[in-house]
């Protein structure tokens, strides 16, 4: 292929080619390899992810992910909100597991302001976290499978996810963006219907996981497409900041719930499933196993949690009084008014907290001002790190494998771009 002239170049690539110098190989600049855009509207990029692929035939030489299409300035917006009001924004980051975003922000606020959370509220949070994990893994499994051509798994997964969304609706009145977890506890107590829904779900779910496994785990096409693809060594996985199931797929035994427990996870019995080879197939197995472990945690949490009781802190300087008190107590009215207009103050200090979201380590860096609004909040999100590691994962693979690899690290673009 002849070297394109400057005018021809402009027809295909609207930026300056010099910007790509050092990022793609010299062969690409000479026009010997093909630069191909994948996304941002490609269905298998799971959102608005654009990949700039440098291809030699079907082989990928370099992969340059381009993100930011879903940037909504959530971190910046939180700087203008009081701590409690900012919770609703965090829902919108990782829209497949909104509760884990609520949780990480609330954990940061609680640490910064020094709010104690009663044990029963923590148990409710554990139930929410594990339900979110299952719901998120179901979307991951369904979309991952449909990307590779397995249509039916998608339908089954979304059928079961629907049951969890209905539980979230019972909890918070909203299927997805519930903002149910608040600084100091949760928004309201568990409804009696919720227990019935969870119990029914827990009874039926193990058989459903068996169904997914029957469809995929020993399916020769699935194995051909996933084994030995997107392999990442434990050392690389750590250096590139992979976390969660994507890290454990490489055999690194690191789960924040076990290693640095929060929410009383040390009181639950569960295993941390590990892969061996670090390929797409092992990450698939790890997530499937994780759903079974979440099921175990849910059973234990449900067996021990009192049917009604304390669901948030009673520290009125941070947590609003119940509605019923407003008619009788002047003090309650004052607290309610202060909290919903001014909010509460947090010291001019910084904290970093991390939790195990369905996708990996989600972290929140929160810097107070001494006033009622934060100076800076930064979310370290697993999808961000996983997309930044795509060049490592896709190196020397075929273009068809890119779809498998993107699915296997389970990215959510809202989580990445914030």
């Amino acid at each position: 292929m002849a070297t394109p002239t400057a005018t021809e170049e402009r027809q295909y690539w609207h930026g300056s080619v010099d910007e790509l110098r050092g990022l793609v190989s010299e062969r690409a600049l000479r026009g010997e390899t093909l630069l191909l855009n994948m996304g941002p509207h490609h269905p298998s990029t799971h959102g608005v992810l654009r990949l700039l692929l440098e291809l030699d035939g079907e082989e990928i030489i370099t992969c340059l992910p381009d993100v930011g299409f879903l940037h909504t300035g959530i971190e910046k917006n939180i700087e203008d909100k009081t701590y409690e009001k900012a919770v609703t924004l965090t829902d919108r980051m990782d829209y497949l597991a909104p509760m884990s975003n609520n949780l990480i922000f609330c954990l940061a606020v609680e640490k910064l302001a020094g709010i104690d959370v009663p044990p029963r509220a923590q148990q409710i949070r554990v139930i929410c976290m594990e339900l979110s994990r299952i719901a998120s893994h179901l979307v991951w499994l369904g979309t991952h499978a449909i990307d590779m051509g397995a249509m039916s798994v998608f339908l089954y997964c979304f059928r079961e996810r629907e049951l969890i969304l209905e539980m979230f609706e019972t909890l918070s009145g909203q299927r997805m963006m519930g903002s149910y977890i608040r600084p100091g506890g949760v928004w309201r107590d568990l409804r009696p219907e919720f227990f019935e829904q969870v119990t029914a779900f827990l009874d039926l779910f193990p058989a459903k996981i068996d169904d997914y496994e029957a469809l995929l785990t020993e399916n020769p096409i699935w194995i051909d497409r996933t084994q030995g693809v997107g392999t990442v060594t434990p050392e690389d996985a750590l250096d590139w900041g992979l976390s969660g199931p994507s890290l454990r797929g490489s055999g690194v035994n690191w789960d924040l719930r076990k290693a640095m427990p929060y929410l009383g996870y040390e009181n639950y019995e569960f295993h941390v499933p590990l892969g061996e080879h670090g390929d797409v197939y092992d990450r698939f197995l790890v997530r499937l196993q994780e759903m079974r472990e979440s099921h175990r945690i849910l059973q234990q949490a449900l067996a021990t949690i009192p049917r009604s009781g304390v669901f948030r802190s009673d520290d009125r300087k941070f947590v609003p009084p119940p509605r019923s008190e407003l008619g009788q107590s002047m003090e309650a009215v004052i607290h309610h008014f202060k909290l919903w207009t001014e909010g509460f103050n947090a010291p001019d200090e910084e904290v970093y907290v991390a939790a195990e979201s369905p996708r990996g380590e989600i972290g929140c860096y929160l810097h107070g001002t001494g006033g009622n609004k934060p100076r800076r909040v930064h979310f370290k999100t697993p999808s961000f790190m996983h997309i930044s590691a795509l060049p490592l994962l896709t190196r020397e693979h075929l273009i068809a494998d890119v779809v498998a690899i993107i699915g296997s690290v389970d990215i959510v673009l809202g989580d990445c771009d914030r």
Binding site: G68, G241, N253, H367, G371
Partner: protein, 205 residues
């Protein structure tokens, strides 16, 4: 990493659990300040020392801060509309406590010891801070995000394009003097006009 490769914290030699003491022993000349809040340890060092300190923390025996959790930057400039927004009574006091406008915080995690550590460096506007991409490739995007959103330069970074904002964007949205909504949305046809009317902060020193 299999279980055998992760050293057990209990087996580590005594005295290696304290990163500040280990750093002082390794680098006697190092300017190092410690700060603790709610059990989180912050080590404040000069920006120029970062690569050596981070490499030692990553590989030093008994420290094993092998995982880079996060890099965040914070802007200590007061907001333009609210001059008294900073917790300090006057700017001179703020300058003594916080010697520069920006700070970059590196959140390191030691998996074998299950411990976190925050490395913090202050950096003035226009100054640059050395990149850690050679130690952790994970730093690549985290630093790019800060270059894009906060406008702090990372010397030696391999990829200096904007990450989240469009490539032709003017300004750095996470700075405290960047307007927080309530203004006309900038499109290409009115970009210059809107830019002229933005209330940028003037820092008086």
């Amino acid at each position: 990493m299999t279980a055998a490769q992760v050293p057990d914290a209990a087996q580590l030699p005594e005295g290696h659990h304290d990163p500040a003491a280990a750093l002082r022993a390794e680098f006697p000349e190092l300017s190092l300040a410690e700060h603790e809040f709610r059990g989180e340890l912050t080590l404040i060092i000069a920006a120029a020392d970062l690569p050596a300190v981070a490499a030692f923390l990553k590989r030093g025996a008994g420290l094993n801060y092998n995982y880079l959790s996060d890099i965040s930057a914070v802007d200590y400039a007061p907001v333009a509309e609210e001059p008294g927004y900073t917790a300090f009574a006057d700017l001179a006091e703020a300058a003594a406590e916080r010697p520069a406008r920006f700070a970059v915080c590196y959140h390191l995690l030691s998996m074998p010891n299950a411990r976190r550590l925050r490395l913090k460096s202050y950096v003035e506007e226009g100054e640059s801070i050395p990149t850690l991409t050679n130690l952790w490739p994970a730093a690549n995007w985290l630093e790019r995000e800060i270059m894009d959103m906060m406008g702090i330069d990372f010397a030696g970074h391999p990829d200096r394009r904007r990450l989240l904002m469009p490539e032709d964007w003017q300004g750095h949205p996470h700075r405290r003097d960047y307007p927080l909504g309530y203004e006309t949305v900038q499109f290409s046809f009115n970009a210059e006009d809107v830019q002229r009317h933005k209330p940028f902060a003037r820092r008086e020193t």
